[in-house]
Amino acid sequence: MATTTLGDIAATRPVATTEALRTADGMPLRTKLERSMRMARLRAFFLVAPLLAFIVFSFLVPVGKMLWLGVYEPTFANYMPRTAAALQTWDTRDLPSEETFAIFVDELIAARESRDLGKVASRVNREFSGARSLLTATGRRAADFAGPDAKQALIAHDATWGRTELWQGMTVAARSVTPAFYLNAVDLRLNADGTVRAQDADRRLHLALFWRTLWLSALITGLCLLLGFPVAYLLATLPMRYSNLLMILVLLPFWTSLLVRTTAWIALLQSQGVVNDSLVAIGIISDTNRLSMIYNQAGTVIAMTHILLPFMILPLYSVMKTIPPSYMRAARSLGANGFTAFRRVYLPQTVPGIGAGSLLVFILAVGYYITPALVGGQSGQLISNIIAFHMQSTLNWSLAAALGGVLLAGVLILYWTYNRLIGIDNIKLG
């Protein structure tokens, strides 16, 4: 045949593929391969099994538990099960029936006797402000209201008992599995009939905090990149004896306690601190106009940039170390000036390091707690501080869990976006 056309090739191809290949003992090749791979896979699985178990118990279970806590809060249903059941059938518009009131008063007495009323009151209070004192005050005289006309007695005792909003709040609290906390976490509220409304203006703060956290984390990441890139470049290109010294300087902060470093920033940046004193001394600012650089956003940004800098430098350095100087030389010999050579040849090759460092710093910053707590003041608080607040002070663990869940989702979305735009396999951590 003089010439082979593409058609000829296409025509001969399928013949080869339809005929399944067999090994010497006549078994189909695919089956045989599968079988031989199974042993290898099994062995690999047993090797990683301990690690897998560890991850499941120390990571997956707690995270799953936390996500579950964000949608599950059974306090009300536990201590007032019959009221909870009655409220589920309520039409949520007019006041609940006499019967419901009677059941409620019965359970109120029971809860007070078992000293669980406080827990129920706190739960309802989250849906209806003022419910806590109302429930405890009413609980003290609950026995007086028992009877068939519990409804009138309660309303006569306190007119608030006649407000549908209170009973709607109780209906929301009565649901054990509820999206209420996740909605709260993004400044929304659940109505008793299942619809959603915006959070009251004076209680709207989570979204703003989320945005602040994202924005400050991005800013800190940017600053770390800006400051870390030249250092990493020096580390990778300086002669050994200088670069070793520089490496020690970069790692030095790791050997000092985080608390000590943060406190050092307080000493430096406070209004009677070293920086302000020096600026006043050399006359750049007057004694009355001392800069406030700490206990605000500036403090959070400065201290966190310092603390997270090594996490940017190290991945950048490990990538730059592998870029031979001959690339820059080649670019220059081909006619590119220093800047063009850097931009078109060096920089693109550091992208895996930039990606790894930025992702690392950003994710660490998003969840950072101790530094903002110490030097952030009011305006420098991040979302993790409010999570800690709910865990420790208000004991609203479900809201804390929901906030954590939203944060996790946000980070995952960012990670996914990053993967789509740059590609996660482009990351190099060392």
Binding site: P324, S326, Y327, R329, A330, A331, R332, S333, L334, G335, A336, N337, G338, T340, A341, R344, V345, P348, Q349, V351
Partner: protein, 363 residues
């Protein structure tokens, strides 16, 4: 060649990295336009340093480098318009082959149509038409080498520098690429400065070879001249195989001299580089210029030799004999019909012409 038509000119160039030792000591070298000049020398002799000074990545500590009539000591590398092929190719890993080739054209501000035409031509030139969209990592070593070559040539520089460009290739591919580079050089007429420490590569490719040792050019000559008439012991030793016999000059007469060996024999040799009667000298003799089973009197130098070892090399039989007190005297006996068959332990007569035995400095 007069200095006026030199395209590249090193005059009195010295280089020191540490301020203590000179890596290049007083380099004077003129390279003609269109010439293929090879810098050949052992590792650490300063070849790369010279090339880097020419490319602009190292500054000469002293002396002047002139390119096309212009002193370039203070011209930055990107303005020198010199193509360069690096030892490890230095192909940009994040760019495709085409982008690599387009890079030098783009930084010169060439318009898109021109760039793509030239890139296509360059790919055709090195027969890599279908590989344009690949990344360097997806190419074989030889293909990467060709891309590097094309990239150094695509912007049509008048001067191309190559630093051991074939060092990473296997022997067969290396030889094929040697011819390819040589043909490209002939076709394009560019001036090439080529660095290698492989002497056979230098011999096959170059118009002229500069043999470096210890920061000094030992001899600058055509391959033939270098092989046939090495001017000192280092060159004789470095280029090709070579029997070395030390002795003392007993008598000089015109072109020739008589050299007395420690074992008492008298050898008649060509006087090349000797300091005078009574001084030590090193006789250099190529193994293929020695005749075995020589009739006494048929050649000016005939001595008795005892065969020590035979090694079969295919095209020749490498024969180690003991002659004039030297145990490691090598003779190449060509493997042709009717050649002398020797056996270890046998005694034979070996001889050579005066012209083939060069008396050099005793290094």
């Amino acid at each position: 060649m007069t200095s006026a038509d030199a395209y590249v000119r090193f005059s009195g160039v010295q280089k020191s990295y540490d301020g203590v030792t000179l890596v290049v000591k007083d380099l004077n070298l003129d390279i003609a336009p269109g010439e293929f000049l090879t810098m050949l020398g052992p590792s650490g002799s300063g070849k790369t340093t010279c090339l880097m000074m020419l490319a602009g990545f190292e500054t000469a500590t002293h002396g002047e480098i002139v390119l096309d009539g212009q002193p370039i000591n203070n011209v930055p590398p990107h303005k020198r318009n010199i193509g360069m092929v690096f030892q490890n190719y230095a192909l940009f890993p994040h760019m495709t082959v085409e982008e690599n080739l387009a890079f030098p054209l783009e930084v010169r501000g060439m318009d898109k149509a021109d760039v793509s035409r030239r890139v296509r031509d360059a790919l055709n030139m090195v027969q890599l038409r279908q590989f344009g969209a690949r990344r360097p990592a997806q190419l074989s070593g030889g293909q990467q080498q060709r891309v590097a070559l094309a990239r150094a040539l695509v912007f049509e520089p008048k001067l191309v520098l190559m630093d051991e460009p074939l060092g990473a290739l296997d022997k067969q591919l290396r030889e094929a690429m040697q011819y390819e580079i040589k043909h490209l050089h002939e076709r394009l007429g560019v001036t090439v400065v080529y660095v290698t420490h492989d002497q056979s590569e230098a011999l096959t490719m170059s118009n002229r070879i500069a043999v470096f040792n210890d920061g000094v050019v030992q001899q600058l000559a055509t391959p033939e001249e270098l092989y046939e008439r090495p001017s000192n012991a280092f060159v004789a030793q470095f280029i090709g195989e070579n029997n070395r016999i030390v002795g003392k000059v007993r008598e000089e007469n015109g072109q020739h001299c008589d050299v007395e060996l420690p074992s008492g024999e008298l050898v008649r040799a060509l006087k090349v580089n000797v300091a005078g009667v009574g001084t030590p000298t090193l006789l250099s003799l190529r193994p293929e210029r020695v005749t075995v089973a020589a009739e006494p009197g048929s050649l000016p130098n005939v001595f008795e030799a005892r065969v020590q070892e035979l090694i079969y090399h295919g095209d020749h039989i490498r024969t180690r004999v003991r002659v004039c007190g030297h145990d490691d005297f090598i003779i190449k006996v060509p493997n042709r019909t009717g050649h002398v068959h020797l056996a270890p332990g046998e005694t034979t007569m070996v001889g050579w012409h005066v012209e083939d035995c060069r008396a050099l400095d005793a290094a």
